[in-house]
Subunit: 399 residues, 2 copies
């Protein structure tokens, strides 16, 4: 498997475009389109929030059919808390794009990200649809990735190539920031494309599993958005056939997870105000579920995240977070390491050289290892530090 360029249009049979369509006042790109040459097997994973944006409701409904040919995403407006009018807005926009592409309306998936509670300027956006469609090109993947961003500082693209079922096959994708409902912006969005031929039930289960292992293991601020969506479209144009239980399926799953993992990684690294990353590994839990719960509690703790921001070694905060989690363990057996250095051994804090520890915490990617010595369950979370810049970004400038 090797990394390739091309992002969401790296796989055969996909084109993309991204333009400014009058939604963002900043005049930055805010409308993104991904188009397949033919109808694709399509799956999606959506936010578990009870309050759902209009495009989430529509796309979830459309994906019941298991097929789609295009994905239309806008940034700058979440189209959430907008009621029936918001649904009509989303439908009108999707219909216009479907019509311009010569597709059935139901074959266009929709996503939105941005301010919650505001309406889309539909009339303005509709006037830009012809340009959006005209710009479609295999080389415009980065423009598409740019147009889904809100407060992200970096474009997030990834693509891999490997031989699957004897054929060179690609999986690619683009994403925007997660858990970072920035100056009122909602959310994490991702589009994955592949030229493998993947039967729908398998595509659905592999996507769900990849999301569970990657996007669901990162956190910026622990908030869950109303718009989170991951789409996957499989064109089959590589000729690689991926059947359940085969080596090809294992290879494809590996590729899919690699792309999702890279995008998830980039999302954390680009967290609002973030200056560094932290990877929290928990082992020795009574179950994988308890291990994951403990890792989440540590990764969500404001005190752990501010400690990271200040490179201020304080394993007590990590112990307190683990102890507050649902994981069952004997605190007298708890071990904690930071950057490989043991700081808590059998429940007792060791005295360590503060300056050396401060250097460990100053690295761009800090690793925390926690062993509960209560079983064989393992879990992992990635998060970033909580800085004054995060507060500055989120406290101001929404209106």
């Amino acid at each position: 498997m090797r990394w390739v360029s091309g992002g969401v249009a790296a796989a055969h049979g996909f084109r993309a475009s991204g333009i400014h369509a009058g939604i963002k006042r900043s005049r930055k790109p805010d409308l993104s389109l991904v188009m397949a040459d033919g109808r694709c097997a399509a799956a999606g994973v959506f936010t578990l929030n009870r309050v759902l944006a209009a495009p989430v409701v529509i796309s979830r409904q459309r994906l019941r059919a298991g097929a789609a040919q295009a994905v239309l995403i806008n940034s700058g407006c979440a189209n959430c808390l907008t009621g029936a009018a918001g649904s009509r807005d989303a439908l009108a926009l999707g219909r216009a794009v479907a019509s311009a592409l010569g597709l059935a309306e139901e074959d266009v998936l929709l996503g939105s990200t941005g301010m919650i509670g505001r309406r889309l300027p539909v009339a303005t956006v509709l006037r830009r649809v012809p340009v959006l469609v005209q710009q479609l090109s295999r080389s415009h993947h980065e423009a598409a990735a740019q147009a889904i961003l809100t407060t992200d500082l970096q474009v997030k693209e990834a693509a891999v190539e490997a031989r699957v079922d004897g054929q060179p096959c690609r999986v690619g994708g683009m994403a925007k920031g997660a858990g970072m409902i920035a100056p009122s912006m909602a959310t994490m969005l991702c589009v994955i494309t592949t030229d493998a031929a993947v039967p729908l039930p398998l595509l659905r289960s592999l996507l769900r599993r990849a999301v569970e292992r990657t996007f669901n293991r990162v956190s910026i601020d622990g908030d869950m958005s109303t718009n989170d969506t991951v789409f996957a479209l499989a064109s089959g144009l590589s000729g690689a056939r991926v059947r359940p239980g085969t080596a090809a399926a294992a290879r494809f799953e590996h590729m899919l997870e690699a792309v999702c993992d890279r995008l998830a990684h980039d999302i954390v690294r680009d967290g609002e105000g973030a200056t560094k990353m932290m990877t929290v590994r928990v082992r020795g839990a009574r179950s994988p579920r308890e291990a994951q719960a403990a890792a989440r509690q540590v990764a969500f703790s404001p005190l752990v995240k501010t400690m990271l921001a200040g490179s201020d070694p304080n394993p007590g905060r990590i112990a307190a977070a683990v102890g507050a989690s649902p994981a069952r363990f004997n605190p007298a057996r708890l071990d904690i390491r930071i950057g490989g250095h043991r700081l808590v051994s059998r429940g007792v804090a060791l005295s360590v050289d503060g300056a050396a520890l401060r250097r460990l915490l100053s690295r761009p990617d800090v690793r925390v290892d926690i062993d509960l010595h209560a079983g064989t369950g393992e879990g992992l979370m990635r998060t970033c530090d909580l800085t004054a810049e995060y507060v500055r970004i989120n406290a101001g400038y929404a209106t």
Copy 2:
């Protein structure tokens, strides 16, 4: 019922003292003692963290007997992650105080707050025990309240008087900040004293209920400490007898809850870096449990708390937090008000005057009302804003 001065020594039969005993480098007061004239019915509520400080383990054990005569609390050191040595430290300190007071060792309850993972300087502290005991006085309640603080800016004391069972009766207490494991400091501590005669089982159940309704309904940063403790001691010296199911019991419960509520209020107001408070009320939930879960999710959300810090109106963040909670409701019926002004009606964001809303959010105590229209369950949480100052306090200066 009227508010009186006297804090933890307002009730008859209690004296208090607070001194610097060499634990804090700042030379601020760090050792606090509350002493009753005779043995009291005593109850406690402790942190649910699995990682427990030595004094928590010892005090929980001692309270099985249901009686105590003194409470010794140090600040500046949490005595947690200190293993068997930490237990020996706590026991030695308690034993010295018991001996100086002429009490049985088991009648002294212990509490600690401060840096996790450091040992108490026992030899130094022991030399100061005679002064601590000598300083005991009914008028030294504020010194005692001062000596349990870590990063708190304000002393937290409260006391009320009312006629119970025909007798003038008092409930008083002192507390230190909660949910704010400050530059590595752990925790919320509280000591409640009363001169009512309350049978042990009733004292235990009323204390647990009062804590549930007050301290468990406030949050600074959502972190759960290893040292949280609330003690209640009832001397009975007022002659007021509080029997289960009587008017006296109802009156006493009201007094107890008033004192706890005031202290909990003061804890939020004095949250690290806090500039204002927010009260989140949820009603119309399918159960009180779901209402409380929804209120917690809103009160814990970094995005809601930064919105508050910036007086930056954004009801979408509140809706997203409620939707992410375990509460079940129909989002098309969701109503949200801030400061009495309806911002979300039947799941749709209303267009409101941004400047007026900004003024509402600029108040020192902002009220958020959420109606799920799914039942009759109600819940309430109090929290403070998340500011850059919180990050500054917690990111630095631990070492």
